[in-house]
Subunit: 211 residues, 4 copies
DNA sequence: TATGAATGAGAGTTCATTCAT
DNA sequence: CATGAATGAACTCTCATTCAT
């Protein structure tokens, strides 16, 4: 009947992964509201009721996508920074940025799902929470560096700087994914220059460079 | 019954402005897809058909919102920069940033409508085009500064830096609007430090300061 | 302002004719339901309220169209037959058919409005009544001819034959209008052959019968 | 509450037939534009979304109706003619006409859906195509008869005669359905007299000619 | 005489979600 | 474990029609 493939009974874990995979793709390409459960189910190769049985609702499904993808991204960045634990702050930042841009480049759909500032959606909360986690992580790095550098930076300054850094990283990652020929390393280097050395210095050709 | 107000026949221009005002509010708070024409019409104090008669369709209405608000924002920034036309690049950038954050703070709904990276929406194009215009404007400033400074910056570098600057500005503006007690001037100053002086220098307490 | 033309106050009769003209065109090309009062008003060069003021409602407007056009068509046919009043029945029929096809060819929009068997429309009645009038007229001709020919034809036979003749005339007229290169005279001649050569035999009581 | 019947889950094929049945009734009685999907769904005893799920859209639903009914009508006529394959042309025509009028009498709604010359509707095409098929079929019969009879009839003459015959048949069928006491056989016999006695002479090249 | 302003009512269509099997 | 069948609710959009001037 040819249905054999679709009819096969798979263990729950596998099915769930298929579904979330499909969902990430749909959400990434059409946005939350425009993506339809029909489409996701079809792309996953299952019936709609099964999606509901396993993932609960559209909202929960989206949350699951965000959590899975944000976790992976955060993990990649954390691992990058971890690997440079003994190096000075700038090298640690570099390692983090490189990991981030690499991940975004290699998982464009995941990045699309995570990047938008979806406002009114029912889960503004979830997405914002994930982003805050990232920003907090970045703020930690900056705070550390500030401590080591002996500069005078207040707590709110650190938050604001983290927001700025995160925003520029997001913007650049999206731009890099959309612009052909831009590698993750280049994007990371540009940002490193921008963020670490500052535009004022760049103008004077005093560039910071990796390695 | 208070209907007196609602029944009055106003000239087209006035009604249109009311409608776009209402639309900006709804789109800002709920996003394009989630906002409903019913709601917008009600908030504007008119019937739905009138909205269609004047603005055409949901998509056209959204486009009208974007265009109006983007135009105003761009105008404010351009005016700010214009006012510092004779000053050095850093002062011009500062003037632009200050105008930007001020506008975003004073028109939070307008900023919300403009900021999201709505992906799958039918007008990704329109929104992206407006953003590109802004980024292009910023790139122009950076390019100029680069020329004056004599530094070596390629064209794509300029684009990337503009993306980074725009992204950090967007991120900070949203954060500033959401965080109580943060003024536009503070946000602008933080970004100026971040962008112009660079994190590396900040750590050494070498801060750039306005005036 | 250039509005001069449109603003000029015309006498009621003229305006009404403009409106019915426009209505006939719209109804002919799009059908009753699909035609919109907006469109008709615009085509007539007046505002919608004026159409309502003069013609009452969409239904009444359509009725006015039907009445005017059906009257004209009937008049043309009657005049044709009248002109052959002293000739034998076949010549009278020929004169009527020729007048009919000529009118249909020269007023295609009028013919389109009159021809369709619009069923569920609110004025099925009006249209059917006009058609019945025509069919009755035809039945009269056939009845006369039958009387003169001395054949045996019952009243219901006459009705049925009139229906058949009317149906074939309608069908041919529409076909002739849609088929390039077919003149009214040709169409009339074909129908005359089809109908009269047959009717001629009927008059002589030489009936074809089943089994 | 009687919901038992309505709640039962029927296989798709059955439901689809119910829906098309209901649609034929509604379209027949009110015309395409005036019929509403709500009404059709209710008459079919299902919810509107199910109609859309199975039949796609109002237009597709109408097309489905036309196709089904036209197919059945054509089949009935073809079968009738087939059964008289070995008989002379007049008997073949008689068989076809009898089958046609019988079908129209037994399926009045189907006949109503097929008969109107709906003009501006989006599917003028579909309906016209079905009619052309019928007319072509008729033209074939006439052409054959003309060939056998040795008469002089051009190709366009055949087309025109087919149009005339089809038109008279349509007109008579509608009249017969509306007039109490008229049987299909009577209507067919009347048309046979009208058409064949005429055609019979045409076959002998005894043409009536104007002037 | 003529119109710009405004609307009530209803159309087609879609979608997340749930039974019954 | 898995699904075909089915729906309530909501949305965008259109249209005939009427005030107020």
């Amino acid at each position: 009947m040819g249905d054999a493939v679709r009819t096969r009974r798979l263990p729950r874990g596998v099915r769930e992964r298929q579904m979330v995979d499909a969902a990430v793709r749909c959400f990434a390409r059409q946005g939350y509201q425009a993506a339809s459960m029909d489409e996701i189910a079809e792309l996953a190769g299952v019936s709609k009721p099964l999606v509901y049985l396993y993932l609960g609702s559209k909202e929960e499904l989206f949350t699951a996508c965000i959590r899975r993808e944000a976790g992976a991204l955060l993990g990649a960045v954390a691992a990058g920074v971890e690997g440079a634990a003994d190096l000075p702050p700038d090298e640690r930042l570099w390692a983090g940025l490189l990991a981030f841009f690499t991940y975004a480049a290699e998982h464009p759909d995941a990045w699309l799902v995570l990047s938008p500032r979806t406002q009114g959606e029912p889960f503004a909360g979830e997405l914002a929470r994930m982003r805050d986690e990232v920003v907090g992580f970045v703020a930690g790095l900056i705070g550390e560096a500030a401590g080591e550098g002996g500069g005078v930076v207040t707590g709110r300054d650190v938050d604001a700087l983290a927001q700025a850094l995160a925003g520029s990283a997001e913007s650049l990652a999206t731009w890099a994914n959309e612009t052909p020929g831009v590698t993750a390393k280049e994007a990371a280097a540009t940002l490193m220059n921008f963020a670490w050395a500052g535009l004022g210095n760049l103008m004077k050709s005093e560039r910071w460079s990796p390695r």
